[in-house]
Symmetry: C2
Subunit: 175 residues, 2 copies
């Protein structure tokens, strides 16, 4: 089980290791770019339209991701007026043994931005006490639920599903 | 099922409605303060120690929460050097029919800060296509899993569990 996993339909894993990779993952918009490239290669124009952002913004963040080895140039296509460059993700799944707090914050920031588009999302947080056995069981159940859900046909709506379980810092109990 | 739910061991619900309440919920630290008050009343000193922050910071954010009607003064206690004021949450569960994107972002920001303390949390995001029936089923399963997990004894470790499921914006599919 990975401490940190982002999966997009498939399984080839990139281990997040280098400072450039952690830096690349420290910005919510770059997570959204990586999410947008999940289904396949896209041009800067397509990404800008899809994410509702300026092409210059997309180009800047793509460059950071490319330099970190997380995005790479794909095929080109001849169109009226020139050549269009497609970009693709160089991995299918990100894994990191060290959960970096900036990466976590940026990833959850990107999820918050995606959540904002759905008028009726499920978002449920609970704080509770668990025995180590209960925590381990709940962790496996949640992780498997995300892994085992079967992908529907390509004409069906796109969803994001997120699960998290973490041990909280023990604060002095109020007396 | 609520679009937005934060539960802490019990069930009396506060409906998030007023601008002051939304403003109060727009800051990650205020979510952490509300989380910290989940188990019971605490003093500013206790909260500052528990959250690793200055007392002035705690006092400022408590004031915002108190003005929004989400925190209220509880009992006082006589100690050497004066009187200690305890503060408590005025509700057990927050519900909001309108998911406000600032609240969502701040709540997830608070979760990111809590996650950073656990060296080995579960954090798993997946993007996939689902039929409306699959989405509804997964939503119920995740929501029930969080609701139905039984709370362990007060001497067991404290955990946070978060589940989210949302429909993503349909971007033009890459060609």
């Amino acid at each position: 089980m990975d401490a940190f996993g982002v999966t997009d339909e498939t399984t080839d894993a990139l281990q997040v290791r280098t400072p450039a990779q952690f830096k690349a993952l420290a910005h919510p918009f770059r997570h959204r770019l990586l999410f947008a490239l999940g289904p396949g290669p896209a041009t800067i124009s397509q990404l800008a339209t899809g994410l509702g952002t300026a092409k210059g913004t997309v180009a800047h963040h793509l460059k950071v991701l490319t330099e970190a080895g997380m995005v790479q140039p794909a095929h080109t296509r001849q169109v009226r007026g020139g050549t269009e460059q497609y970009h693709e993700r160089s991995y299918r799944r990100l894994v990191g043994e060290t959960v970096d707090s900036e990466t976590t914050a940026a990833m959850l920031g990107a999820v918050a931005e995606e959540l904002a588009v759905d008028p009726d999302p499920l978002l449920h947080l609970r704080h509770l006490r668990l025995t180590p056995e209960q925590a381990q069981r709940l962790r496996s159940t949640l992780d498997d639920l995300v892994d085992d859900t079967e992908e529907a046909a390509p004409d069906q709506p796109r969803y994001g599903v997120l699960v998290a379980l973490y041990r909280r810092h023990d604060t002095p109990s109020p007396t």
